[in-house]
């Protein structure tokens, strides 16, 4: 049992990290009052922008600098692409769910359309991804070292750092307080002199950048290829956001839980100890758990109160 856990742990973490950053992006957006179900499309957008950048740059420079530039390009692309959602939801008072659906569909179609013009097949393969590394010193700590500090990707630490900074920004800075206020009671925030529109724009762009980073992290860690979808992980991130009750530490727990379950399902074919658990149970587990969480928290949900409601300056 122990050896199985040690074996699959690095995979579980690899699988969890993109979910963390995407759910965190969703957290910014929803905490500011804009529901973002376009996370999945934004991930695809990031995966595309990252793949294209790395594909073009890898022959000209060292592989790892191409990858890091690719990740930055993905974030920029996601932030720009999410402006479509921001504009529709913030300026035009559009239905946020419909706009998010449109974002998803535009991303799925447009990226493959563009990719076909580049490669013909619509898939973009990158020559090499990030290398796994053991962290010096820490990886030799018994138990913990084996689980958390062996065979890690650099992106894992970047994402965890972003999570830590995000917690600080959201709860310890004026910007974070304002952002949360806009999601709870935008009119009160407005009365206090906060520019709700500007805060929401910032939040949606952050969510776009983070979701796109998530898509690109998948690309440079375990997939190595842009294929036009991310297997619905954007929706799993959305489930994590709800199950984590819109809190940074909550989503860390939820994503790890879901990531671990999915990894077990993915590897259960090859690991005899796990073959006894039917894959379908492990795969539907995150979604069923989210439904149950929705029921349990239905009376005391921590959901931002104004999420999904357009803010109209004149309607106080």
């Amino acid at each position: 049992m122990w050896s199985t856990i040690v074996q699959i742990f690095p995979y579980a973490i690899t699988y969890t990290i993109p979910l963390v950053i995407v759910a965190l992006g969703g957290l910014y957006s929803e905490r500011s009052g804009v529901v973002n179900i376009g996370l999945d499309g934004l991930m695809v957008c990031g995966s595309f922008a990252g793949a294209l950048t790395i594909y073009k740059l890898q022959p000209t420079m060292s592989s790892s600098s191409a990858i890091w530039i690719g990740l930055l390009a993905a974030m920029a692309a996601g932030a720009v692409f999410s402006l479509l959602h921001a504009f529709a939801c913030i300026n035009l008072n559009a239905n946020q769910v419909i706009s998010g659906t449109a974002i998803n569909m535009i991303a799925y179609a447009l990226t493959v359309f563009l990719a076909r013009n580049v490669t013909g097949s619509g898939n973009i393969h990158i020559t090499s991804g990030l290398a796994r590394r053991n962290i010096p010193m820490l990886s030799s700590i018994p138990i913990v070292g084996k689980l958390f500090f062996s065979q890690t990707y650099a992106t894992t630490w970047v994402v965890l750092l972003i999570l830590l900074i995000s917690w600080f920004v959201l709860y310890k800075t004026a910007f974070g307080l304002r952002l949360r206020a806009c999601g709870e009671h935008p009119h009160a925030a407005d009365a206090a002199g906060i520019n709700v529109y500007r805060i929401r724009y910032a939040a949606v762009m952050i969510s776009g950048a983070f979701a796109a980073l998530g898509g690109a992290v998948i690309l440079v860690t375990y997939s190595g290829e842009f294929t036009g979808n991310v297997a619905g992980l954007g929706f799993l991130a959305l489930a994590s956001l709800i199950f984590g009750q819109w809190k940074p530490l909550g989503i860390l727990g939820a994503t790890f839980f879901f990531g671990f379950a999915s990894t077990i399902a993915n590897v259960s074919q090859v690991v005899p100890a796990l073959a006894a658990i039917p894959g379908v149970i492990l795969k539907v587990f995150p979604y069923v758990v989210t439904l149950i969480a929705l029921i349990i928290f239905s009376k005391s949900s921590q959901a931002p109160k104004a999420a999904g409601e357009p803010f109209d300056h004149g309607k106080r």
């Binding site: 179609a109 447009l110 929705l294």
Partner: protein, 355 residues
């Protein structure tokens, strides 16, 4: 509600038409950017959908699942619900129909009825859970139907290889025999070998029935009343919880029928690892039709045309087929931001009146 008729022309129609034009323009810009001629592109796209009777049949067949999912989303919208789970309901309904079609060896008419019924039940069952959660616990149906989509995806992902797989491929079910297909010889021959099937008649019937229920029955009135204002409806003595559950189940049943049309009519088997895109396109269809069941027919056929013509366009030009999906997605975006277009229309009207 901005449903007023102004000077005989329905504002919704103008918004829809402008959305289509803007979507097509966006497509043209994309074609230009990637170095193709948009006029050629659209000529081949529309010829691909209408050139001859066979292609016209294919356009109608492609439109069939879209009619069902469009109706599903439109019906839910009319009753105040947002059914974003049409894809999952459709997948599960189609799975049920395929399972029945592969396991029973009844005569064709009887078997088809059983398959259609199982698709209805499967879709309705998949929507029952979000309906219950909404009615009983006030869980927002957008989130719960998204979760149900992925539950459906994974259930089918594991159930098809376990119970319905053929001898070679793990990723799709066995091929349905002719006796379990919605395709019938006379229709295929009438359309010169097109894959049009009985689904189109079911779809038209469904549109008429839904229009009748919504506009002419007490049930439709009650469901719409709950959609407009839950509390007012409750005060008026309508059983709100029952209405929500029933609305969701009807929407699910429609999507389930779409699954039957797609997997047992247009196709011969069900594939795993894909949530049918028609489920999400249904949102576009419904928006473009401003939730009118009859409008859904027109909007779905328009999208069917884009989808069925894109293959021909791709064969004749260098334009990738995903242009059709991009155009549809852009149309949804413009339909969602209808405030912009409505404001524009209003401004023009005001200028005409000289105010």
């Amino acid at each position: 509600m901005k449903l007023k008729m102004i000077k005989g022309i329905n504002k919704n129609t103008i918004v829809s038409l402008l959305s289509i034009i803007l979507g097509l323009l966006a497509g043209a810009v994309l074609m230009l950017i990637t170095g193709s001629n948009p006029i050629d592109g659209y000529t081949y796209l529309f010829r691909g959908g209408f050139m001859n009777i066979e292609r016209f049949g294919n356009t109608l067949a492609t439109a069939t699942p879209l009619i069902f999912t469009g109706l599903s989303v439109a019906f839910a919208f009319k009753t105040g619900l947002f059914n974003i789970g049409a894809a999952g309901q459709m997948l599960f309904g189609g799975f049920c129909a395929t399972a029945v079609g592969l396991s029973l060896t009844w005569p064709k008419p009887l078997l088809l009825m059983a398959m259609v019924l199982s698709a209805i039940l499967g879709g309705a069952l998949w929507a029952l859970i979000p309906g219950l959660l909404k009615a009983r616990f006030n869980v927002h149906e957008v989130v719960s139907t998204i979760m149900m989509n992925w539950i459906s995806y994974w259930v089918v992902y594991y159930a098809v290889p376990a119970y319905l797989k053929g001898s070679f491929l793990e990723t799709e079910s066995r091929r349905l025999p002719h006796s379990a297909s919605l395709r019938v010889d006379w229709l295929t021959n009438l359309f010169n070998g097109s894959y049009i099937n009985l689904g189109i008649f079911l779809a038209i019937a469904a549109a008429l029935i839904i229009a009748f229920i919504l506009n002419r029955t007490v049930l439709g009135y009650e469901l719409k009343a709950v959609g407009f204002n839950r509390h007012a409806a409750e005060y008026a003595g309508i059983n709100v919880n029952k209405s929500i559950i029933l609305s969701m189940m009807i929407a699910g049943a429609l999507a389930g029928l779409g699954g039957a049309a797609l997997y047992t009519g247009n196709a011969f088997n069900i594939q795993i690892g894909v949530l049918p895109s028609q489920g999400f396109d249904g949102i576009a269809v419904s928006l473009l039709a401003s939730n009118s069941p009859i409008g859904v027919l027109g909007a779905a056929i328009f999208f069917g045309l884009l989808y069925s013509g894109r293959g021909f366009m791709n064969a004749m030009t260098k334009i990738p087929p995903e242009i059709a999906d991009t155009i549809i997605a852009t149309i949804i975006y413009f339909a969602a931001t209808n405030v912009l277009i409505e404001g524009f229309v209003d401004r023009i009207r005001r200028k005409k009146r000289g105010v």
